[in-house]
């Protein structure tokens, strides 16, 4: 009897350990910001502190031929605003997903594939359609002509959020001192895909400062003044 009880307890303990390991592997490690530590914080820190994650619906604003178009995502986040910023920016940088796997309007089935904000191809542009069906672009066109705003090598370095609602989003591309060169529309698409995605999804954010490799620039890549925080621009959203 006692050996049987001990075996039962041991089995339960093993199950608990395995479950915790699985949870950590699938959702608790944090995005690319994890490991930077310090003030930037990370999803893993939030998870490590025991903050629960839950699936939450977001609209990510990807470049398209006629402006920025929303792609719906359901992503695991905590209640912490910085975590939400980190998750939506990471999902934005992951791109709109493959053009061939775009179930219209659906939420992603099952768990997110990435640690914190893995790309889930449940994107659909409101009003969807073929507006940008022939678009190409550096990253290739995704669902409904959506385009990845930055090359895949660009990662989220860190996130800060000030008490007065200014989000600082640091994008990093190793060995690239400057952001990609671009015309004004391309630059607007890149910068405001981040600004609108952050400010329109995280209520605590009203302005966004975009950093490149940890530095705030006079202009992002030659046109837009990024020496001051940017407010979201809804006029860029495709009708």
């Amino acid at each position: 009897m006692s050996r049987r009880a001990a075996g039962l307890i041991l089995g339960l303990a093993l199950l608990l350990v395995a479950g915790a390991a699985l949870w950590w592997w699938r959702g608790g490690r944090g995005g690319p910001a994890a490991g930077r530590g310090g003030r930037s914080g990370s999803a893993s820190a939030a998870a490590g502190s025991g903050a629960p994650t839950e699936m939450h619906a977001f609209d990510l604003y990807f470049p398209a031929n006629d402006g920025l178009r929303a792609a719906h995502r359901s992503l695991p986040v905590t209640e912490e605003p910085k975590d939400r910023i980190r998750v939506v920016v990471t999902a934005l940088l992951d791109g709109p997903g493959p053009a061939t796997a775009a179930p219209a309007g659906g939420k992603p089935g099952g768990a997110a594939s990435g640690p914190a904000a893995g790309p889930t191809a449940g994107a659909a542009a409101p009003g969807g359609g073929a507006a940008g069906a022939n678009s190409g672009g550096a990253g290739g066109a995704g669902p409904a002509g959506l385009v990845r705003p930055f090359p895949p090598e660009v990662k989220l370095g860190g996130v800060e959020l000030s008490a007065d609602g200014i989000a600082y989003v640091d994008l990093r591309w190793s060995d690239h001192q400057d952001p990609p060169e671009s015309g004004s529309t391309e630059e607007i698409q890149r910068v405001y895909s981040v600004v609108d995605t952050v400010a329109l999804n995280v209520p605590q954010v009203n302005r966004v400062v975009l950093l490149w490799n940890g530095t705030q620039r006079t202009t992002f890549s030659g046109h837009l003044d990024t020496s001051r925080p940017l407010v979201p621009d809804r006029t860029l959203l495709a009708p």
């Binding site: 470049p63 398209a64 031929n65 006629d66 940008g132 022939n134 678009s135 190409g136 672009g137 550096a138 990253g139 066109a141 002509g145 385009v147 990845r148 705003p149 400057d178 060169e181 671009s182 015309g183 004004s184 529309t185 391309e186 607007i188 698409q189 890149r190 620039r217 006079t218 202009t219 890549s221 030659g222 046109h223 837009l224 003044d225 020496s227 001051r228 925080p229 940017l230 407010v231 621009d233 006029t235």
Partner: protein, 207 residues
């Protein structure tokens, strides 16, 4: 009409230096010509920008805060830096007084481009473009077409097409000058910020 080019070759010129040249020449209009690109190759057409009011609002707030700060702590150890910051903000604000005229001029430029070239009308838009901020006169940034669009890129390589674009711009400038009061065109030029002509890290679409 006398045109002053900020540069006549493919050299790079800091953004603030471009408006400084316009201000020093007491120009009536500032026109920044660009060729556009988009992340999607399907984008095409011309568009004309003037400075967004959001950009000027933000700077007005910064200027007020800086002035208040300088008044409250005139003997601060970094007072010199504050003065320089304020000077820079005032430089940024130079365009604020000309937004209405800039918008009017932008509409004329866009109309001429649309009419002459049968381009897709991408419209008059606003953005916080750095190159427009220091201009002490009505100022626009004109995107003449997308070199990321193969068809439009081919057109732009045709000298006759480029001449048509310039003709459209000249007509727009003529229309504007005919319909404006001289005293609404330009304000006394601001001096460039001392030691603070901030260079742009890159200048991808000359001029």
């Amino acid at each position: 009409v006398r045109a002053v080019l900020t540069r006549s070759d493919d050299s790079k010129l800091p953004l603030d230096s471009r408006t400084a040249i316009a201000n020093q020449n007491k120009a009536d209009l500032f026109v920044s010509l660009h060729l556009n690109s988009s992340l999607g190759s399907g984008a095409h057409g011309a568009e004309t920008y003037f400075l967004s009011s959001q950009a000027t609002d933000t700077r007005a707030g910064d200027a007020a805060a800086s002035e208040n700060s300088a008044t409250a702590a005139p003997a601060a150890a970094d007072g010199g830096q504050e003065t320089q910051d304020l000077q820079m903000i005032l430089w940024d604000l130079a365009q604020t007084h000309h937004l209405a005229e800039s918008q009017r001029f932008a509409g004329m430029v866009q109309a001429e481009l649309n009419q002459a070239l049968e381009l897709r009308d991408r419209g008059v838009k606003q953005a916080p473009f750095r190159v427009l901020m220091g201009a002490a006169m009505p100022a626009v940034l004109v995107e003449l077409g997308f070199i990321s669009n193969p068809e439009e890129e081919a057109k732009l390589q045709n000298p006759a097409y480029r001449a048509d674009l310039i003709d459209a711009l000249v007509r727009a400038i003529g229309r504007y000058l005919e319909t404006s009061q001289p005293d609404t065109r330009s304000a006394p030029p601001l001096p460039p910020p001392q030691g603070a002509v901030r260079s742009s890290p890159s200048s991808p679409t000359p001029p």
